[in-house]
């Protein structure tokens, strides 16, 4: 099985049954190979975040098939979807979304706690390695508020990799950063992609970054171009 992700005839509508039903995504067909590095671009409101949330199993499509890591998600209940999400997907959001009450190390270890997979020792070791890999070996015990935007996003990337998911979804991970930091973050993701064979799907507004991806998928008004 070479595909990590397969979308077939995906539709998404909001406000079903309210009389102001709007279809946001129309007949989306998309396949991502393992280890691929794709950009998802498109104007504001075109449905990029919606598509990413669908793939991230945070929302369900109105119609269509979504296959992640060989699993057809249509037949899964909430519990199983959550399980699949925890095991197979990593998230990086625009506003980094770290837990403010926990330090960098704890934030990165959080997925391990949730999935109750590693021992405390293993989790600390892995999280420390990941934070070192993103250049934050010195900031293990800093709270998010003590870190710069770029550093916070590095923590978020390390966290997304904690469970070694085959696919990382990033929604405008550099949207909130200055050009230099954005470049650094982008390079970091590319490096991880190449070294660890982890697939990335990155929503971005920045055409320069899009150019540096394997492929740029363009979404306009809910249609893939």
């Amino acid at each position: 099985m070479i595909n990590i992700l397969q979308l077939a005839h995906i539709y998404k509508s909001y406000g079903i049954g309210t009389g102001v039903e709007t279809e946001v995504l129309h007949d989306i067909n998309l396949t991502l190979a393992r280890g691929s590095f794709h950009a998802l671009t498109g104007p504001s409101g075109s449905g990029k975040s919606t598509l990413l949330n669908l793939i991230g199993l945070l929302e369900s499509p109105t119609k269509g098939e979504l296959i992640i890591n060989g699993q057809n998600t249509n037949q899964l209940n909430d519990q199983e979807l959550t399980q699949l999400r925890g095991q197979s997907l990593g998230f990086v959001f625009q506003f980094h979304h770290l837990l403010p009450a926990f330090n960098a190390l704890e934030n990165v270890m959080m997925p391990a706690f949730i999935n109750n997979q590693y021992t405390q020792y293993q989790a600390v070791k892995r999280a420390t390695d990941l934070l070192s890999a993103v250049g934050l070996a010195d900031a293990l015990h800093k709270k998010p508020a003590e870190l710069s935007g770029g550093m916070q996003q590095r923590v978020a990337i390390a966290r997304a990799l904690m469970m070694s998911p085959p696919l990382v979804l990033a929604d405008e991970p550099t949207g909130n950063l200055d050009t230099h930091s954005a470049d650094e973050i982008f390079k970091l993701m590319r490096k991880i992609n190449q070294e660890q064979d982890i697939a990335f799907l990155i929503v971005t507004h920045d055409p320069r970054l899009g150019e540096r991806c394997d492929l740029t998928i363009n979404l306009i008004d809910g249609y893939l171009r």
Binding site: S49, E59, Q79, G86, Q87, F93, A101, F113, R159
Partner: protein
């Protein structure tokens, strides 16, 4: 439940320190008041019942046809003022009835008593008294006379007698002196005082004159008979039931302290009802407090919950974080509350004393009460957290992430 739920529950509580402390204070206060009140009322009720029963048998068996006659000084007085013209009745076959009572489960002690009105005389002073003829070994098990002796021991034989300190001072006598007893029928006997008692009750101190069973039998002209049989039971509040059972078996008039003191008992049970109402209201208020604090906390943590869900946290895990918080509020609050109520009890027991200076109640915590309060508080904490926890578990993670 694993480290994830504990970690999140504790960290969230620490983050909302002010809220956590406030609700913890609320639970603590509530539990402290409940334990304190319950302990106070239980002890005071115990003290009151103890005092009432100190000179009273739990159950008294009397002859069948006799109108209810209680051994209170007033009634001996009444009997004195309006003589019945009928001699004191004895219980038919009292030995076998005493035997039956002894064999009844729940009955601890049985004491046959021959008692009736008489006069005590010394020199020119003469007082109306109640003769109480009994067997000291048995009687001591019904009324703890040893606790009330101010001179000598509660033991006598032959023509010896034990009287109260007030009668002694009225007659101007003390131990070693002799007094003369005269009954209605004119029988006379001189008795030697061997001991004095003080029952903390002036009337009893003035009236009760103890003799051997045989002496009272002959003075009261009921040779071999007894006027009543006094019983003590193991469980105070089973007295009524036991009395009814014995009454059905023997056809005799059998009354328990619960009937003789029904007014007191009513007052006590009203007090218990009031206490229960207070407890219920406190539990409801504390539960609402926990719920509202957690509802606010869930709203505040909306974003974090969304992130956790995106990272694979199951609904059940999110729910348990908040249930755990509720349980923690309840448990911690009740542990601190129990300590606080102990402090309050200590304070009260030193400040408020009985008129004679003895402690009205002891600064004691009933471990059963504490364990029960803690368990209830924990369960109430979890139940109060149920609504907010469900809300947290069913929150839409996308909404938290998009905003």
């Amino acid at each position: 439940m694993n480290r994830f739920e504990w970690l999140l529950a504790l960290r969230f509580l620490r983050e909302g320190r002010m809220q956590s402390l406030l609700i913890l204070a609320g639970v603590t206060g509530g539990v402290a008041v409940i334990i304190f009140l319950t302990q106070l009322i239980n002890q005071l009720q115990g003290t009151i019942i103890d005092r009432v029963l100190s000179s009273q048998a739990h159950i008294v068996i009397r002859p069948a046809e006799e109108a209810p006659l209680r051994i209170t000084p007033d009634q001996y007085l009444a009997a004195q003022v309006q003589p019945r013209g009928q001699r004191l009745r004895s219980i038919d076959q009292w030995e076998s009835i005493a035997q039956l009572a002894r064999q009844t489960p729940g009955v601890r002690a049985v004491s046959p008593v021959a008692s009736g009105p008489a006069f005590a005389r010394h020199n020119l002073a003469s007082k109306s008294i109640a003769l109480v003829g009994m067997i000291p070994d048995n009687y001591r098990q019904v009324v703890k006379m040893s606790n009330y002796m101010i001179k000598g021991n509660f033991d006598l034989s032959g023509d010896q007698t034990i009287i109260g300190k007030d009668l002694a001072s009225d007659l101007g006598v003390t131990t070693g002196d002799r007094i003369q007893i005269i009954t209605e029928s004119g029988t006379q006997q001189t008795l030697t005082i061997v001991a004095l008692f003080d029952l903390n009750n002036k009337d009893l101190n003035k009236r009760w004159v103890f003799t051997t069973l045989r002496m009272s039998q002959s003075l009261l002209n009921i040779p071999g008979g007894v006027s009543n049989i006094d019983l003590t039971v193991d469980d105070l509040f089973q007295a009524k039931r036991l009395a009814q059972r014995l009454s059905a078996q023997t056809g005799l008039l059998i009354e328990s302290w619960m009937e003789t003191n029904s007014g007191l008992l009513n007052a006590l049970s009203n007090q218990t009802v009031t206490n229960n109402l207070i407890r219920i209201f406190i539990v409801i208020i504390v539960a609402l407090g926990i719920t509202s604090v957690l509802v606010v906390s869930v709203v505040q943590k909306q974003k974090e919950i969304g992130i956790l869900r995106a990272m694979g946290a199951k609904r059940g895990q999110v729910m348990r974080i908040f249930l755990l918080q509720g349980a923690l509020f309840g448990t911690l609050g009740s542990i601190i509350g129990a300590s606080l109520s102990f402090a309050l009890l200590t304070l009260f027991s030193t400040v408020y004393k009985a008129s004679d200076g003895s402690a009205l109640f002891a600064a004691q915590l009933d471990p059963k009460l504490v364990i029960m309060a803690t368990t209830v508080a924990m369960v109430v904490g979890i139940l109060s957290a149920l609504v907010p926890a469900r809300r947290a578990a069913h929150m839409d993670p996308v909404q938290a992430i998009r905003s």
